[in-house]
């Protein structure tokens, strides 16, 4: 089996895996990184949303081979130690989470958006297609605006 070396949340890792194995399973089942969640496995629900070199990806449809030599950040790596990312802070301030299952993906999607854009419009928020089955969308919207205002 081929070997791939890349960085996860600041730490170099090396894994044996078939080239087409989705990053999600490398993270969850081989590396024990359980923040990214499975919701569909086909890039639709976005519960697994994480970052590759700072940009949003869906690890359930990202083959591990594509990550070789790259930098993967999951929800666990978004904060700097105990200092939460402003998006996480905003999520706490708005008490967004209900069951919480979609929220790592929601937060990573919002953080990726806020990296590229400072002024966030309602249309920008509308483009975040992550499913929240608990229906927390309005609080997500408020949290993103609040984070944008503070960043």
């Amino acid at each position: 089996m081929p070997t791939y070396t890349f960085v996860v949340n600041g730490k170099p890792v090396t894994v044996d895996a078939p080239a087409d194995l989705a990053l999600l399973w490398v993270l969850r089942d081989k590396l024990g990184v359980r923040g990214p969640k499975f919701g569909c496995g086909i890039g639709v629900c976005r519960a697994c949303t994480s970052h590759l070199n700072g940009a949003e990806i869906q690890p359930c449809v990202t083959p591990v081979a594509e990550c070789a030599g790259q930098e993967v950040t999951t929800i666990e790596g978004l904060a700097s130690g105990e200092d939460l990312h402003p998006v996480q802070e905003a999520w706490l301030e708005q008490d967004v989470a209900q069951c919480g299952y979609c929220q790592p993906g929601q937060i990573m999607a919002a953080a990726a958006l806020l990296r590229t854009k400072k002024e966030i419009s309602d249309e920008d928020v509308d483009r975040i297609a992550n499913v929240c089955r608990c229906g927390t969308y309005f609080r997500i919207r408020q949290a993103i605006k609040s984070a944008a205002a503070k960043m």
Binding site: W25, K37, Y101
Partner: protein
């Protein structure tokens, strides 16, 4: 110190004390024909069963014999108080609300309370079922009593240690305060308190002294959730439990005829493959590899149980099963309406999942379970072990909406673990979760209202529904409380649930609501608000049409016919805050509706943008909610927001198409649960001040919002919706079976 609530637990079989009103029996409604000319004021409606005893009361009643043992509190030497809660947290916020009750009673900072979910506790009999919007109603008394008893013990321990009278002591910030003002931390008193003998009866604080309860608090687990540290079922490591998936049949309840697993077995990472009652299980080193091998299996299948049925036939069966009206439309004016509602997947974000470790002489299970005692019984029977050898751990779930009342993943995981002789970590695929999981039953509704001289004389609602499966313990609850149920005659469980959950909140003269079920061998289950989303949603549409027919404004009409001032206050709140009647551009409209259940009531006013009738969006929502006594208004608002989103989804676009024995939808790209772009940019939720005991909240938000959205759509487009979801094409290429 560990302290069960010190209220004595009656021996099993001891009679349940009946509350006075429980003996009230509602006779079959007597048809009265109003003589035209005599009806001046609104014609009062006799109480419906749900007004006398609702399903939540039934659950409380069934749990009464064990209520004293419900709350297990322990005060740690570190000062942390742990509540082991025999209920399931699935996002509804009960752990936070319960922690608030403990913190309030013990004068503790909220951060010092931990809530764990109790394993299946068979001694609780029927008191470990999370459903019917019942948790806060059923634990409000017991948890406060347990905490008050714990506080009394801590006070007594402090009095003894320091040689002072209890009457000179108080509590504050997790400490007993001595007469000279010195604090003694609870952690330092707990072991002494545990040694004390004697009964420490204590009354919980009166609500007027609450300082924390009733104030908005954030979830106690929010930080773990936003940092990715929160552990759901599949995030745990159980030694040896490896990723497991199941290849399932092409139709519901099909079974394996033959399997060729040669190719799959040789694939990387594959550890084991075996046939189980529900399909073929594959265990591998990663879920990705397990799924790849699952797809490589060559399986032939025996037929399922509804292979010949598609939506068309099911709808025809429902229509045929709808019971006739009693009131002929003679002499009076009348309005008849019919509605259809599609099947709806629960589709919680966390798919059905469980971990099981079954050995020859014992088994251990981990899953999100709302009815763990029945789960334990059923699992024990399925794997041939005595119940006492089965441990069932309740995990916090990633959503439920009724889904986790059932424990199908837990049974299946146990069966696989037994068959393959290894611990397994079972995850359902999303497609299987939608196609082979459970769904809200499709229903057909027929309504008739008669009126004369400005008064509604009769109101009839006939519901025909595909049978909803209640075999998760509710049946036992209903049997045990049968003598107290406010429904006469030999009704099925389903009819009893229907009559104890759905009620018409208006004085519409003679009101009759009847349910008839069509049994189909498919997987159904209560979906947030059970029958009410469809039943009450349809009624609220009819109310708007009836108002129009009688020449009245929808709000003025509801005000006139609602039964109580409390209900009208909630309606008035959204009317005022939502600026009812304001001018809207063409293609936009407001809609309003009201709902009352489980001792709570709510009104919802929405604004819809339906300029493109095929692509409507609810752009604003104003909700008022009166739950009697809100424990955590912030959590309550979250529940109402969730209910609103559920209503937006199921009213406008989210449903399942059944085609030859299987739902076509297999993903969120096909089952159109709302996303951010489908939801309002402006939501305002008003929590009415506390007036009494806590009512239900978890399901309350759906029905009024369904009605309001449908009514807004009708006003914006001029087309009254009759079939839900309103926009429901098969706009995708279904996955192969």
């Amino acid at each position: 110190m560990t302290c069960d609530n010190e209220v004595p637990v009656p021996a099993a079989g001891a009679p349940v004390r009946r509350r006075r009103f429980l003996t009230f029996l509602v006779a079959a409604p007597v048809l009265t024909v109003a003589v035209p000319g005599t009806a001046e004021a609104v014609i009062p409606t006799l109480p419906q069963p749900a007004e006398i005893l609702d399903l939540g009361d039934v659950l409380i009643l069934a749990g009464t014999p064990t209520a004293g043992a419900l709350a297990v509190l322990s005060v740690g030497e570190d000062g942390v108080v742990t509540l082991d809660l025999p209920r399931a947290e699935v996002g509804q916020g009960i752990t936070t609300a319960c922690a608030m009750l403990v913190a309030e009673e013990l004068d503790l900072p909220l951060g010092q309370v931990r809530v764990t979910l109790a394993d299946a506790r068979p001694e609780l009999l029927m008191n470990q079922l999370t459903g019917g919007s019942n948790t806060m109603r059923s634990v409000y008394g017991p948890i406060r009593q347990a905490a008050a008893a714990a506080r009394a013990r801590l006070l007594a321990a402090a009095a003894e240690q320091h040689g002072v009278e209890v009457s000179g002591l108080s509590t504050r910030d997790g400490a007993v305060i001595l007469p000279d003002g010195r604090p003694v931390l609870y952690g330092l008193l707990t072991s002494a308190a545990a040694q004390l003998t004697g009964v420490f009866a204590a009354q919980p604080k009166p609500a007027s002294e609450h300082r924390l309860v009733g104030t908005p608090q954030s979830r106690i687990d929010a930080r773990a959730m936003v940092t990715g540290q929160f552990r759901y079922t599949l995030d745990q490591d159980v030694p040896g439990a490896m990723p497991t998936v199941v290849r399932r049949p092409p139709t519901i309840n099909g079974s394996v005829k033959s399997v060729d697993s040669a190719v799959a077995r040789a694939m990387p990472g594959v550890l084991a493959i075996g046939v189980v009652p529900t399909g073929v299980a594959v265990v591998a080193e990663t879920f990705g590899q397990a799924m790849a091998a699952r797809d490589a299996l060559k399986v032939t299948w025996n037929p399922g149980t509804i292979d010949a049925l598609s939506d068309k036939e099911i709808r025809a069966k429902l229509k045929a099963a709808t019971l006739p009206f009693v009131v002929p439309p003679l002499l009076t004016q009348h309005l008849d309406m019919e509605f259809d509602f599609a099947f709806v997947s629960h589709a919680p974000m966390e798919t059905n999942s469980a971990i099981a470790d079954v050995r020859d002489d014992r088994a251990e299970i981990w899953a999100g379970l709302k009815s763990p005692i029945v789960a334990r019984q059923t699992i024990a029977a399925a794997i041939g072990l005595p119940e006492s050898a089965v441990t069932v751990h309740v995990m916090q779930g990633g959503g439920s909406f009724g889904r986790r009342l059932f424990f199908d993943a837990a049974i299946e995981a146990a069966q696989i673990s037994k068959a393959l002789r290894r611990p397994v970590k079972l995850m359902w695929s999303r497609t299987d979760d939608m196609r082979h999981g459970r769904a809200r039953a499709a229903s057909h509704h027929k309504l008739r209202a008669t009126f004369a001289l400005g008064n509604v004389l009769t109101f009839e609602h006939r519901v025909a529904s595909v049978e909803t499966d209640f075999r998760h313990g509710l049946g036992e609850v209903l049997t045990a409380t049968a003598a107290s149920l406010p429904v006469a005659g030999n009704l099925s469980f389903a009819q009893t649930v229907f009559l104890t959950t759905c009620k018409v909140p208006y004085n519409f003269g003679v009101v009759t609501s009847l349910l008839n079920e069509v049994p189909l061998r498919m997987h159904t289950g209560s979906w947030r608000s059970v029958y009410s989303a469809n039943t009450r949603g349809a009624e609220e549409v009819l109310v708007d049409q009836l108002a129009a027919k009688m020449g009245k404004d929808p709000v003025a009409f509801r005000r006139e016919y609602l039964k109580t001032a409390r209900q009208r206050a909630v309606l008035n709140k959204v009317v005022a805050e939502g600026d009812w009647g304001r001018a809207m551009p063409k293609g936009f409209a407001q809609g309003i509706a009201f709902h009352d259940e489980y001792k709570s009531c709510t009104a919802c006013l929405v604004e819809i943008d339906a300029r493109d009738p095929q692509n409507p969006r609810v752009v604003k929502a104003v909700i008022a909610v009166d739950v009697g006594r809100p424990i955590n208004p912030r959590g309550l608002e979250a529940q109402m927001l969730g209910g609103l989103t559920d209503a937006i989804s199921t009213t406008l676009r989210a449903g399942l198409h059944i085609d030859k024995g299987l739902p076509l939808e297999g993903s969120y790209s096909q089952f159109h649960y709302a996303r951010q772009k489908d939801t309002p940019k402006d939501v305002r939720i008003f929590v009415m001040p506390a007036t009494g005991e806590p009512g239900g909240a978890g399901e309350l938000g759906v029905p009024a919002a369904v009605g309001a959205i449908a009514n807004a759509y009708a006003r914006a487009t001029g087309v009254v919706p009759r079939s839900f979801p309103i926009i429901f094409p098969v706009d995708f290429e279904p996955f192969p079976r």
